[in-house]
Symmetry: C2
Subunit: 709 residues, 2 copies
């Protein structure tokens, strides 16, 4: 299906004006819960009850079938038993209903028979142009239009907002929505995708990128099935300045088992997933608290053009903690200018040399208005793009003090930059809290210090990404090739046509050739057997390294041939490759492997012990732009070695990044049958860079060339 | 002061039976807040009001002075202005009051004059055997005896518990106590130490190790001033199985500034602090949420002899998240035995191959009693020492469902191992929550998943530490020596007497000596100038490496002497050192430096790029036991190299750890004037280990020997 068509389908699914509750009955708990939600949200379209008896339920008129309703219906919420599903679905189609949420379980998640029933359902839905969410799903609530197509309780007051939530798990969806409510975070749309027979997480994210009511998209995922759609959606989200905040579970070995037990999801390689998020500008988080605080803060601030944060607190301890955690999470706390320092010292005489975060001290207990002048002074700093005031927002009857909050609210009202109250701890925001926010004019509150600083770190990084407009793909589209390089020499030749400098290698057909080639090079050489039939050259005595001088070269040539002929008498021999030895410098490993979920993934790292003992590599989905490769190289633990450690020449990082990206392009051009392409080593000596060996593995073939330089 | 005497003083300070409020007045906000606390806690001893007019306040009888009270008083809470402090304190002494909490500010934290007043106060207190807390402090609340010597509001209901809290900052103390109350965590004693004129954090921790009402000690510290007392207290706490949970702020560069602005605390090297915590079994945490959840969980579980955790949840998503985070925090989730699997499958037919964490599925919505049978089955596993059931504990009116909680409570009542309800998120526990806990018999609830798993990771590590009874110090006490090794040779000789194998080195007084020594070694040798006056031997041409053969040795000897005589004509020359060259193997760096707070600290790491490019070192306070050094070596990033990476000989880790610990002992024996002792490299080739070079720097002297092997 084209993306545009799918978006239209999802628009139909998520924006209905009339609903049939198929399976409705006053005795059914599901029916009761749905009704409670329609009541509490105040959905204003017609609602029909469909059941065997055609009886009314909860005051909704009853019908024996969807056809019997006799009026157009936008969506059916179906919770009949699985046995009744086929008849029900045919009735729904016949009634002209073209969207359905299917709560009923007993499909692919339980048995083979269930899987067949699910296939039937999808087939019929496609034929009849019906979009279905589920089956085995708890539905969605579109709070923007007060449409609660879910039995998950929607608690009053209805908190509409600009944060959406997509999750496979219905229980988790419910719990996250609950916690968001506790934290006073308004949602636009929240969806549980269940079995994802037609509509999966990627499709929902793709839809939400265009949803006018949504600014930030929260995802709780066990797996991303349709990675291509997800990747394209993430790129569109970045362009649209809508953040995607992702809590992806399944990083542990055990989790793979748990997920298998739970929904049968494929749990992919977690490092690749992290690399994909990094590359796509998706914010990856690790707890629900972090998910909600990050998403709601982003919905409040939007992208910050100025990343600096200014903080004021009445507690010196909190200031110290903020400074610590800001450093950990990469949050900038710009030092104050002398003008601001003067203003702060005037307001708070105790502060002789004011620093950020600013300790307003206990003076603000006696004189709450200090907050106003201090916040205004801090917000005046051009290096500060977000102002936070740490003060507890009351949530129960314990606290009565609000003059400080009023003062903070007065200051915030005058600011032309994002600002918020920061709760010292992660605490609920109750009706009392909302009343105080409304009364003081404080636009929003977030907490606690730990979550807020972590979230501010995400905001900073994401904002920079959004605002730099860096391409996530190289501009040039890779053109597929029909070439199928096999031997080391073919691989290196192929790479060189993609702009990868490779070691000059010539093939010697005779001993004399070899001697002449080596003599022309005038440095020690490597000799290697050239044969399309020999994968592991060293195993058959097909490699001699560091050979210098005519006699030695001649001898090595003879030794290689004799050895290979003896060890592999059937092999076709094309000659002996002669190339100069390289020494000094550094060796980089560049490898491309095919991930079953994400396709070709590039890994880069320093060779030898760095990769083997430290697993010091960075990953990226292909295609990858050289600007990103440069970031990857710089984030290696061994990055200091690239900068010219201990007197070695500093590596030309721009050039190196271009070459690594070119290797990625070359791999991509080789198409879907490529399993592995490895350049090991890519030799670097300052600005000199050369691929010394290349290896390709094709799907359903074995290794055809091996590194044995 | 002896520790035992200080503990008696603190007992007097923290366990009073009668109180004088010095500065009490119904108009004073401090006075009002104190009174409210005495009311809400129900302190049952006599309370007196002391003020200029001698008038009653809040119903407490009024007196013009402490002397005028005419009855014995255990403690004075003093909040008169700083100007009145001297007269007030003399009055207090004259009245025989021997403990005081001093709220008044204007002492060392503000000015030189204030510092002098503080010194006077401490001097008089010592003379008169009075213990004072503060000044400039918000006091303490001893909830165990309902004694609220603090204006920090104590909210009803009074939650007495077994967790203590010590903090320098009064505001932070108040906020942490508040948050603990919100999370239903009962406290024993909480103390703000303020200016710490007599009683600092270390003294309070030391006292609390013996406090019968305290099981777990929470600390919020900007600095630990008295590290010796703290270290001894931490060791006693480990022996007493009382956990210390430490939120130490001041890790950032900025924080050093903030703390300086705030209390003038010295903020030490954060890596050393972390190493000290690791060594002393102190649990270091990074947020207040983590502090409270970890401490309260520890107070609930105590040390766990069986570290395995069994988890049940109604949400598959939560199970997956738990599995992920358990792996991150090192929490064991043992697989179920076949008997347990059979029991679980019988209870929950959907679970075909039950795994831990166990997804009880939506079946438990319809049949809450499933929790009971499932929890019993899980708790039957001998590998499981703690059982957690994930389910939301209601805190507001949103939830009504409790049959599941009743079922969980029934199961928990039958268990003979620690168990608790686990909130999926970090949520408050209100009176409604407490009522439900009481009604269901659930002993405690902790949340959310992220904080609980992090806390369980701490519990596991701390329990292992407590139960292994590993010595934190070597058994043998290091005997101080009067030796003062200076040159490389003296240093190596000194080390060898502490059991450190050193490279055999002989001094050659003549060319012929050198040749003979080298010839006897029969391997390539290193020659180095021996002079007490030459620090940097290479700078004066004083080193020749890898010399083989009589002629080459003779030549090197002459070259060194000629070069040194020219470059350093005044230097006394003792001869030329001749030692065998070592090659292959690995090089370790062992360095001891003196930290201004913690004294001598040992650093160990692999030499060369590992230390220089990766800063791959581990630290420990001295003395250090070899068992701990072994752990340090194993936790190096480069640890794989020690295990015999790439065909190299595996290092004899036990032997290496003993030698490194011996270097630490040698450094300690050199006493307080030692600034630095460095062995670089300590050469290792499998079981062969040798110090190749040694360097000592003494305080107030310059470098006297340098590494130039």
């Amino acid at each position: 299906m084209k993306n545009i068509d799918r978006r239209a389908l999802l628009q139909r699914l998520f924006y209905p004006h009339s609903v049939a509750l198929v399976g409705a009955s006053e005795r059914s708990p599901w029916s009761q819960m749905l009704h409670a939600n329609f009541q509490s949200t105040g959905f204003d379209g017609p609602i029909y009850a469909v059941n065997k008896g055609g009886v009314d339920a909860h005051g909704y008129p009853g019908f024996v079938s969807c056809r019997a309703i006799g009026a157009p219906v936008d969506i059916a919420f179906v919770f009949v038993p699985a046995e009744a599903m086929q008849d029900t679905f045919e009735d729904l189609i016949a009634a002209g209903i073209r969207a359905a949420v299917i709560l009923t379980s007993g499909f692919a998640e339980t048995s083979e028979a269930g899987a067949r029933l699910q296939d039937w359902l999808v087939g019929r839905a496609r034929e009849a142009d019906v979009v279905i969410l589920g089956p085995n799903c708890l539905g969605y609530a579109n709070l923007a239009i007060r449409a609660p197509l879910t039995p998950i309780p929607i608690h009053p007051p209805l908190l509409k907002g600009r944060v959406a939530l997509v999750s496979q798990s219905g229980a988790t969806n419910s719990e996250i929505a609950d916690m968001a409510h506790d934290l006073n975070v308004g949602l636009s749309l929240y969806v549980a995708t269940g079995n994802e027979a037609m509509v999966d997480i990627a499709a929902c994210v793709d839809f939400l990128v265009d949803d006018a009511n949504t600014e930030v998209i929260m995802v709780f995922a066990e797996t991303i099935r349709d990675t291509a759609t997800f990747r394209a959606a993430a790129e569109r989200a970045l362009a649209a300045k809508k953040a995607i905040v992702m809590l992806k579970v399944g990083s542990s070995a055990l989790t793979a088992q748990v997920a298998a037990a739970h929904t049968g999801s494929l749990v992919g390689d977690d490092r690749i997933f992290s690399a994909a998020c990094e590359q796509l500008g998706v914010i990856r988080v690790y707890s629900v608290e972090e998910l909600i605080v990050t998403a709601s803060l982003l919905a409040h601030t939007g992208p910050l053009a100025t990343p600096g944060v200014g903080i004021v607190s009445i507690s010196g301890g909190a200031c110290t903690l903020v400074a610590d955690r800001a450093e950990v999470y990469g949050v900038d706390l710009p030092a104050f200018s002398s003008a601001t320092k003067a203003a702060l010292t005037q307001a708070v005489p105790l502060a002789s040399d004011p620093i950020n975060p600013f300790d307003i001290t206990g003076l603000a207990v006696r004189d709450p208005s200090l907050f106003e002048s201090v916040i205004e002074a801090i917000a005046g700093e051009s290096t500060i793009g977000f102002v936070g005031a740490i003060y507890s927002l009351p949530w129960n009857e314990k606290w009565q003090q609000v003059p400080q909050l009023e003062s903070i609210g007065r200051a915030f009202a005058k600011l032309d930059k994002p600002c918020a109250l920061l709760n010292q701890f992660l605490r609920p925001q109750t009706q009392k809290s909302r009343d105080i926010l409304a009364a003081t004019g404080i636009p929003a509150a977030f907490g606690g210090i730990e979550e807020v600083l972590r979230a501010l770190g995400h905001v900073k990084k994401w904002s920079a990404r959004v605002l730099e407009h860096a391409p996530t793909r190289p501009m040039a589209v890779t053109v597929p090739t029909s070439e199928r390089p096999m031997s080391e020499r073919e691989v290196l030749d192929f790479l060189s046509r993609y702009g990868v400098p490779v070691i000059p290698t010539r093939i010697a057909a005779t001993r004399e050739d070899a001697v002449a080639i080596a003599a022309a090079l005038a440095v020690p050489v490597a000799l290697k057997i050239a044969s399309p039939d020999i994968a592991h050259k060293t195993d058959v005595g097909g490699v001699k390294l560091n050979i210098l001088g005519d006699a030695a070269v001649a001898d090595a040539y003879d030794t290689i041939l004799a050895s290979v002929v003896k060890a592999a008498p059937q092999a076709r021999i094309e000659g002996v490759l002669v190339s100069p030895m390289r020494s000094g410098g550094l060796e980089i490993l560049v490898g491309i492997v095919r991930d079953p979920q994400w396709g070709p993934v590039l890994a880069v790292g320093l060779g030898g012990i760095w990769v083997e003992a430290l697993a010091d590599t960075r990953l990226a989905l292909l295609p990858v732009a050289s600007v990103q490769v440069k970031d990857m190289l710089r984030s290696l633990r061994a990055a200091k070695l690239l900068a010219g450690f201990r007197g070695a020449l500093p590596v030309d990082l721009d050039r190196l990044a271009e070459i690594v990206a070119a290797i990625g392009d070359a791999a991509l051009a080789l198409g879907d049958h490529l399993e592995t392409l490895e350049v090991n080593p890519l030799w670097i000596n300052g600005g000199e860079i050369e691929a010394l060996d290349g290896l390709v593995v094709w799907a359903s073939t074995s290794v055809v060339s091996t590194a044995a330089h």
